[in-house]
């Protein structure tokens, strides 16, 4: 297992989709459509997550002739990946919430979110 990948917006999007149901397996296109990513951005993210041991993948166990389509590559979060995703998503939410310095500057605006849940 490698080091945790450098957090990027694309990684965050993929983790969000996978974290919705950590035990479920998703194929690339499904995750891409849910995360709003196309192949060129999606596959590198899967590669990095897999290298870091956050995600495992396997080929779908179907007969292409019977299914009428080629087999798919299925991805699932590992236990380490679940912990990492939870932490990363929590950090991202926290970073997206305005801090005290913003509250001081913008808190007088009605509806502006302030740390602690109350709004101005």
């Amino acid at each position: 297992m490698g080091d945790p990948p450098r957090m990027t917006l694309n990684i965050l999007k993929v983790l969000t989709v996978l974290f919705e149901d950590p035990t479920a397996e998703h194929y690339g296109l499904e995750v891409g459509q849910a995360a709003g990513l196309r192949g060129g951005s999606l596959y590198p993210v899967f590669g990095r997550l897999e290298d870091a041991g956050m995600v495992v993948s396997r080929w779908e166990d179907v007969d292409p002739a019977e299914a009428g389509r080629p087999r798919r590559r299925l991805y699932r979060l590992t236990p380490t990946g679940v912990v990492y995703a939870r932490q990363a998503l929590a950090e991202a939410r926290q970073n997206l919430t305005p801090g005290q310095e913003h509250a001081a500057a913008w808190g007088h605006i009605p509806g502006f979110p302030v740390p602690g849940g109350a709004s101005a």
Binding site: Y27, G28, L29, G32, R38, G39, G40, S41, Y43, P44, G47, R48, R69, P70, R71, R72, R73
Partner: protein, 224 residues
């Protein structure tokens, strides 16, 4: 003139776009193009990973909603980002590839004189005059029997000039090595002398034949 040029160019572009549009309206062409782009993108990845990503990307394009453009756009995006993707997978960058190619080309250019010298040496080694085995092989392949050749050479030299070999053995053609020993050892001076003698012998032979012809002709005319 520029107006005509623009009109011609516009016509050509319109025709070209029409052809491209007609092709893109064919779903099979789009699928083929998408597959081709994915193959090209996968070629940039490290060898061990190509098959897996290629299969996955193609599988995903086939799972896209039916239509001409979605698979093509998906494949285009994969291709567009494949260079940076390949770098994250450990493949060399384009710049590194370019440097490697230039370096390889430079090494090749530098090695040319040595290769030429080596080739020349090999060629010399295999030349019949240097290599008896090669000479025998060539003669065998050509169906040349050494014995008649020796006989012919002996007759030729005897008839043309008794001193053709300058006192050397009378079988210079017995083997290539013999030929070499019989001829190649001569100095320039001796070789020119030998050539002179050969030429003189040839002229004498011609004169003799002409004289014989005249005599025969006169005899025939007198008899007739």
């Amino acid at each position: 003139l520029s107006g005509w040029l623009i009109a011609i160019l516009a016509t050509l572009v319109t025709l070209l776009l029409g052809v491209v549009k007609a092709d893109l309206e064919d779903a099979k062409v789009c699928r083929w193009l998408a597959r081709h782009l994915i193959y090209r993108a996968a070629e940039r990845l490290p060898r061990a990973e190509r098959a897996r990503w290629r299969e996955e990307a193609i599988s995903d394009t086939l799972a896209l909603p039916p239509g001409r453009l979605p698979p093509l756009l998906w494949a285009l995006d994969v291709y567009r980002r494949s260079a940076s993707w390949a770098q994250t997978r450990g493949a060399p960058s384009r710049w590194e590839l370019l440097v490697d190619r230039v370096r390889a080309a430079w090494e090749w250019v530098r090695s040319l004189p040595q290769a030429r010298m080596r080739s020349r040496e090999e060629s010399k080694q295999h030349h019949p005059s240097r290599n008896e085995e090669t000479a025998q092989e060539i003669m065998a392949t050509a169906g040349i029997d050494a014995a008649p050749a020796v006989g012919m050479a002996a007759v030729g030299t005897t008839r043309s000039s008794g001193t053709a070999t300058l006192g050397r053995p009378q079988q210079p053609w017995a083997t290539p090595a013999g030929w070499r020993d019989g001829m190649m050892h001569l100095s320039d001076h001796d070789f020119i002398r030998w050539l002179d003698q050969q030429r003189q012998a040839f002229d004498d032979d011609i004169d003799r034949k002409v004289e014989e012809y005249r005599l025969t002709r006169d005899r025939v005319l007198a008899g007739g």
